[in-house]
């Protein structure tokens, strides 16, 4: 199995942990994994990404344009930014909730997430929009957007992993007191 996955969002949204959970799950299945991500200054509220590649015979952890089988976008604007990396028939899971940059608050203009979502749905056949506001409220924590999106990716079939693979990864990487909450988020269906 070969899979190219991009996770993207805004620094602080939890993309790195999500990427680590997928890697850990794939490793447990003895699938070789390469990945790369944004670290450093951009983590302070900037655009961030993780590239994650699974399979044999790969050289670079970086993904080229039109090469991603799956994109898990934590933010609609960031989904549009990295859309050129998605394959023509790739799957995309996107959170509906926008993170407004400080620049938007200053100029008073902001950007319109609905425009981004409309643009995505006109171009991505395999698009799943997750109503983040509602999902976070129903799961009962503002901190688990990453697991909710991973759950949606699992159910799309594009991740190539089973729910149990990811639950084992959660057990390995996350402190026990958060397991129950994370499992709930992973199993959440709108």
């Amino acid at each position: 199995m070969r899979k190219n996955i991009i996770l993207c969002g805004v620094g602080g949204q939890g993309t790195v942990l999500a990427s680590r959970l997928i890697s850990s799950a794939a490793m447990a299945r003895r699938i070789p994994v390469l990945s790369a991500e944004t670290i450093g200054m951009a983590q302070r509220g900037g655009s961030v990404f993780s590239h994650l590649r699974m399979g044999e015979g790969l050289y670079s952890p970086m993904i080229a344009r039109h090469e991603a089988d799956l994109m898990i976008a934590f933010e609609p604007g960031e989904a549009v930014r990295l859309l050129p990396f998605l394959k023509q028939d790739g799957r995309m899971i996107v959170s509906s909730r926008a993170v407004m940059p400080v620049t938007a608050a200053l100029s008073g203009t902001g950007y319109r997430p609905e425009e981004m979502l409309a643009y995505l749905s006109s171009r991505v056949a395999g698009l799943t929009v997750v109503d983040a506001e509602k999902a976070l409220q129903e799961v009962g924590s503002p901190k688990v957007l990453n697991l909710i999106l991973l759950g949606a990716a699992l159910r799309s079939g594009a991740l190539g992993l089973d729910p149990e693979d990811l639950k084992q990864a959660v057990r390995r990487l996350i402190p026990e007191k958060f397991h129950e909450l994370n499992f709930r988020a992973l199993d959440y269906k709108a």
């Binding site: 805004v10 450093g40 050289y59 952890p61 970086m62 549009v80 940059p101 938007a104 200053l106 950007y111």
Partner: protein, 606 residues
């Protein structure tokens, strides 16, 4: 042996431990920091590890350890090598006993650095051999080889990952701790003819170094680290090849897989260059494309070799306009360059016009005390002729609108010298130098001594958040603990400044806005060198759950809170300011400046 999913920097650390490293020291700097942190986490009790006060001191410690026969690893980013260059240049002349590996992480882009300097060029300048890994796995093997090599040839050795190697992850097969090499330092032996650098010794050793490096051209030509990947499946008349090194090699191999496999030279030891191997590679080729980041290093070496051996191969790359002169390569940029080189036409990208995307420059975190410090100085100095000299760290982000409080930024500690000069040339300009607490210890002290001695006039502002924040929260002399886990006496910034003779030293909580403004006003008006220490811990380390709330009925929508401080937790919706509970840390700076007291809650500061 077992498999682990490791970051390149973690792989380097575990490789060093597997090689029996005894001493690891360094100074934090993206993208090098995780190497030392991983050593600290994974070492057994016999390995000594420390964050040194700066890279020069770290290099000298590593040198001393090597003199005693220990295997030493010293870590830094490329900017740090500038600081450490004095001891390193001399160490190359003196030579080493225990293996000494100098880990310098370069940053093409640059992503989080001031320059795009290339440590391969520094290697050639300093005559120190350099290993250039193209993956985490290769870095793991290379660091082990580098220790043996260093001892065999009695020279420090560079290991130079770039950001994508340092921060890339891969599943790697590594040694178990029981399989680690055990290296026992023999101890220091007095021998002034060896350890004391004098012109006569330098003259003799200079010749020895040049002779050794000439030999290493051959050694590296025969090393499996450097290799030729043969052309396959291409028409016979294609007499073209690619030379690549570092992370760009992985881009080339991906392009080979999709475009066709040209003969490829992988350069893993750019200095000393594998000359004989390069001649073998070049023979029969009409054109070679060099794919590398930062300097046109391989390109120049190949041009030199063509001249030396009378080869007619045309060498293409950065200097011929076939590759970009600056910035990072990518899968797509290398694919496009290789395709063009092979006369393959890639399908044009369809023109897409997405809606305007949000711009996201990095910003100070919500509740960051630096925001309050900058805002206090800004308010206190309103209407006066000023210069705000910034420095390297999170607080460089004070340049962003609306704070706009960084007029200059050069390198660590430079703001002090710049401020002194700006005031000396314009006595009516009130000059400030901002440094963080870690930067204060690392590189501000000579600037303060200089200012007091030479009767300069400026205000030193120390932004003390009790950590090295930008690189991921490392301890330093002011934090009271070390990387070995010891609790130690905190070194007091106030005592140092008073000891040097700074006339006024004031400490204030920046989140008490009125008092902070008043302190700046009074202190800046004093003559000579004076200092303000804004002390408040980094919000990423000490998160508060006491968030502020905005009463929509009371908010008049004046936007003062948004316009003045640019906090990412504040936004404006339906004519009112709103606070994002997920981000707010309850610093209350917005609350303190709201003209109608619509904001309540948060931590108490005043």
């Amino acid at each position: 042996m077992h498999d682990e999913f490791l970051m390149g920097n973690e792989a380097i650390a575990l490789g060093a431990l597997a090689a029996g490293v005894n001493v690891v020291c360094g100074y934090p700097g993206t993208p090098s920091t995780e190497v030392l942190e991983t050593v600290a986490k994974r070492r057994d009790g016999s390995v000594y590890v420390e964050w040194s006060v700066n890279e020069k001191v770290a290099m000298e410690l590593a040198g001393g350890a090597s003199y005693a026969g220990a295997r030493a690893l010293v870590t830094m980013k490329q900017m740090g090598l500038n600081v450490a260059s004095d001891p390193l240049m001399c160490l190359e002349y003196i030579g080493v006993k225990g293996g000494l590996v100098v880990l310098v992480a370069d940053d093409p882009g640059p992503i989080s650095s001031q320059t795009e300097q290339d440590t391969r060029s520094f290697a050639a300048f300093s005559k120190v051999p350099l290993f250039d890994p193209s993956s985490a796995e290769e870095a793991y093997r290379m660091v082990q080889e580098a220790f043996d090599f260093s001892e065999k040839y009695r020279t420090p050795v560079f290991l130079r990952p770039t950001t994508r190697v340092s921060h890339g992850y891969a599943s790697i097969r590594i040694r178990d701790p029981e399989e680690y090499t055990v290296h026992k330092p023999e101890g220091f032996e007095k021998d002034s003819s060896r350890w004391v650098i004098f012109p006569r010794l330098s003259f003799a050793n200079h010749r020895r170094i040049e002779e050794r490096n000439a030999l290493l051209h051959d050694v590296f030509s025969d090393s499996p680290l450097n290799r030729i990947e043969q052309e396959t499946g291409l028409p016979k008349d294609i007499r073209k090849g690619i030379a690549a090194g570092g992370f760009s090699y992985t881009y080339v191999m991906e392009a080979r897989a999709s475009l066709g496999a040209l003969r490829t030279l992988k350069v893993s030891t750019p200095f000393p260059f594998p000359e004989k191997l390069a001649v073998t590679f070049l023979s029969g080729l009409d054109e070679v494309l060099c794919v590398e980041e930062l300097d046109p290093y391989i390109e120049k070496e190949l041009i030199y070799i063509c001249g030396k051996y009378g080869l007619k191969t045309r060498i293409l790359g950065k200097m011929t306009g076939h590759m970009p002169l600056s910035g990072e390569n990518s899968r797509d940029s290398v694919q496009a360059a290789v395709a063009a080189f092979m006369n393959i036409h890639l399908p044009a990208e369809p023109a897409e016009e997405p809606p305007p995307l949000p711009v996201r420059p990095p910003v100070l975190c919500a509740g960051c005390p630096h925001r309050a410090s900058f805002y206090a100085v800004k308010q206190a100095m309103k209407g006066q002729k000023t210069a705000f000299c910034g420095d390297i760290g999170c607080y460089t982000l004070g340049n962003a609108m609306p704070l706009d409080m960084v007029d200059t930024c050069l390198c660590m500690g430079a703001g002090l010298g710049i401020a002194q000069s700006l005031n000396r040339l314009e006595k009516d300009r009130s000059c400030f130098a901002f440094v963080g607490d870690s930067t204060f210890f690392a590189s501000a002290l000579p600037g303060v001594v200089n200012a007091v001695y030479n009767q300069a006039e400026f205000t030193l502002v120390v932004l003390d958040n009790s950590t090295t924040a930008m690189t991921g929260h490392q301890p330093h002399p002011g934090t009271g603990h070390t990387m070995m886990g010891e609790v130690v006496e905190k070194i007091s910034i106030e005592s140092i400044l008073r000891g040097i003779g700074v006339s006024a030293v004031e400490t204030v909580d920046p989140l008490d806005h009125a008092l902070a403004v008043e302190t700046v006003r009074k202190t800046a008006a004093l003559p000579g060198v004076k200092a303000i220490i804004f002390r408040s811990p980094c919000v990423a380390l000490f998160r508060s759950s006491a968030q502020v709330t905005i009463d929509p009925a009371a908010c008049i929508g004046c936007k003062k809170c948004i316009r003045e401080i640019g906090c990412p937790a504040l936004s404006f919706r339906d004519g009112k300011a709103v606070v994002d509970a997920g981000q707010c840390n309850g610093c209350t700076l917005c609350k303190q400046l709201c003209p109608v007291k619509a904001i309540t809650g948060g931590e108490s500061h005043a």
